[in-house]
């Protein structure tokens, strides 16, 4: 590849399949590459990587798929991944390097940027090329989402992490051609300074359900207690949905942190979101702004959530929710 002329996406796999965010990175990566007249590469790091995923990456827009398969890279670890990506970036010299705003991206991208002596913008919701300078313009929320900032940098590579569900995923075209290239970088294992001893992940739990539920009923600080969440669980059940929360109920220990929706929690895009006793801070709304219909219940007519909702009612959830539950029981098929 020519000097600093290409876009490189760091791909992530879940159970051998590209994550939805990886497909979104390929979608925006392809657009940027086409605009610049450059190539789009995708890199997978890991161990025992699924070869089908490489072909899928080509079908989803990658011109080159780089594979760094090494037992030492089986799970994400800061030192090994930063070291390998540093070597790879110095060899491939991408002009733009994209990560998902994920557990891996939040850790790897900043550290890598500092190692490469470049700059980065995290949690981008929009990426565009400036037609004059041909530099990458990155737009991201600031002040917890109350404002947006657009940045550019001349340092190379230009690094950005992209928020989930912010950009469109790549269309799939199985007739696309591309190259699959096995990389052979090595590193001294003694650079590894941290070790993951165990992982506790609820595969089928409440947090996981939140990510795919079409209806989400969310409680906020105004719920007042853990016990009061029970009525939200009942409503969610009747609507075939899941329960979520803004940050305060999680910080107060009323619900598990996995249920947190917002800037530093989950980003969801259900067909229907019902916010109960939630003020609607920008940080929380950042997690649901792409929901199809936003519905709110709050005692405060000035609550910010009403500025962001499609439908609302000003009232105490203790009076409103029983009516909603009752009506659902009467009118919805069992």
């Amino acid at each position: 590849m020519a000097e600093e002329k290409s876009i490189l996406v760091c791909g992530e796999l879940q159970e051998g399949i590209m994550t939805p965010l990886t497909l979104e990175l390929l979608g925006v990566g392809r657009k940027l590459a086409d605009e610049l007249g450059e190539g789009l590469g995708l890199i997978f790091l890991g161990s025992g990587l699924n070869k089908v995923a490489f072909k899928e990456a080509v079908a989803s827009g990658a011109d080159k798929v780089y594979v760094m398969d090494n037992p030492l890279l089986k799970d994400y670890q800061t030192d090994s991944y930063v070291t390998i990506m540093d070597k790879i970036c110095r060899k491939l010299k991408p002009g733009i390097l994209l990560f998902g705003q994920t557990s891996l991206g939040r850790d790897l991208a900043p550290r890598l940027a500092f190692r490469l002596g470049t700059r980065l913008v995290m949690d981008c919701v929009e990426l565009k090329i400036d037609p004059q300078t041909r530099l990458l313009m990155c737009t991201k929320p600031i002040y917890g989402g109350n404002a947006m900032a657009r940045y550019v940098s001349e340092a190379k590579p230009q690094i950005a992490t992209v928020r989930s569900r912010a950009v469109a995923p790549a269309p799939r075209d199985p007739s696309r051609q591309g190259e699959i290239i096995a990389l052979e970088e090595s590193f001294d294992p003694s650079i590894i300074r941290t070790r993951v001893v165990s992982r506790t992940e609820e595969k089928e739990g409440a947090g996981k359900r939140l990510e795919t539920a079409e209806v989400v009923v969310c409680g906020g600080r105004g719920m007042g207690s853990a016990q009061n969440f029970a009525c939200l669980e009942e409503l969610a059940r009747l609507l075939n949905g899941a329960v979520g929360a803004s940050r305060p109920p999680c910080d107060l220990g009323w619900v598990h942190s996995e249920l947190q929706i917002g800037l530093t929690g989950k980003i969801i895009a259900p067909a229907m979101y019902i916010g109960v006793a939630i003020s609607g801070s920008s940080a929380h709304l950042a997690g649901v702004s792409n929901a199809k219909t936003i519905i709110a219940i709050n005692t405060d007519p000035e609550a910010n959530i009403f500025r962001a909702a499609d439908y609302g009612i000003v009232g105490d959830f203790k009076k409103v929710i029983p009516v909603v539950i009752d009506t659902c029981r009467k009118l919805l098929p069992k």
Binding site: T78, S103, D107, P110, R111, F114, R115, G117, R119, D123, M137, P141, I142, Y143, G144, N146, A147, M148, A149, R150, Y151, V152, S153, E154, A155, R193, T194, R195, V196, V197, R199, T200, G207, V215, L239, D251, S257, T264, M272, G280, S282, I294, P301, E302, N304, F306, R307, A308, A309, D310, Y311, G312, I313, V314, G315, V323, V324, D326, T327, L331
Partner: protein, 264 residues
């Protein structure tokens, strides 16, 4: 255990979104009139994390901030929570500085303070939400780093950490010295006590200048992140509010709308 916690003063993130304005010429966000300046909430979690380590294992905690003279308030808040010492690093005289400059200056200040076994940072600042300074300091100081930490255990000079991952957590081991970024899942920070506030008022705050720490402006020249544009996103939805004589009546119409729009 010598600990240094990096803290930042930010406009109160609890400030209602209504009333935020932009000064397009200065490219500054203007929080609404009367918005308080507070310690960055994630940095407060980091202070709490340090206090818990000290409660269990002993040690000394220094709070470090880079900012204008008024930023002293966040150091006093940290000391009122129980932190031992405070250091105020004067911001460099740069026009606008990005996360690299911040990390570079804080890293030098940490070297100047010296002997840190553990450096703690909040995961991101509630104003610019860059989330880079913690990992940046770790890289500049050559320290192992673990992000998104919600629990710190220590045994035989090694840390055993709980790190947040989607839908769960992982247990990560690392030796000292190390840098950790702390997330709110750690739990609510302790309130400063009245006694703590009084004691904090009497303490000396060490003041450092960029010259004191050997900051070299040439290090961050060129390639700086440039802020092109600031804007407040326009809300596109228009809310229909259900009203009636009583809330319960209004709730009936409200419920029917939910059922109508519920996905099949």
């Amino acid at each position: 255990m010598n600990m240094i916690v990096c803290v930042k003063q930010v406009p109160d993130p609890e400030t209602p979104p209504k009333g935020f304005k932009i000064d397009p010429a200065a490219k500054r966000v203007i929080p609404p009139l009367g918005a308080a300046l507070v310690i960055n909430p994630f940095d407060e979690n980091a202070v709490e994390a340090a206090l818990r380590v000290r409660d269990a294992h002993g040690g000394k905690i220094t709070a470090l901030t880079m900012g204008p003279p008024d930023a002293e308030d966040v150091l006093r808040h940290a000391m009122a929570m129980g932190v031992d010492e405070g250091v105020l690093l004067e911001s460099p005289a740069a026009e606008d500085f990005d996360s690299f400059v911040t990390a570079y200056c804080l890293a030098l200040a940490i070297k100047k303070i010296g002997a840190a076994d553990l450096v703690l940072c909040g995961r991101e600042a509630a104003d610019w939400n860059a989330a880079q300074v913690g990992p940046g300091i770790a890289e500049l100081l050559g320290l192992p780093g673990v992000t998104l930490v919600k629990n710190i255990g220590l045994a035989d000079g090694r840390l055993k950490l709980e790190r947040v991952i989607p839908n769960g957590f992982e247990v990560v081991e690392v030796g000292l010295p190390a840098l950790l970024t702390i997330t709110n899942e750690l739990g609510n920070p302790r309130y400063p006590t009245v006694k703590g506030v009084m004691a904090a008022r009497k303490k000396e705050i060490t003041k450092l200048s960029p010259q004191d720490i050997g900051a070299d402006a040439a290090r961050w020249g060129g390639g700086q992140l440039k802020l092109l544009d600031l804007f407040i996103p326009v809300q596109e939805r228009k809310c229909h509010i259900f009203k009636a004589e009583t809330v319960e009546e209004a709730a009936v119409g409200f419920s029917k709308k939910i059922i109508e729009l519920k996905p099949t």
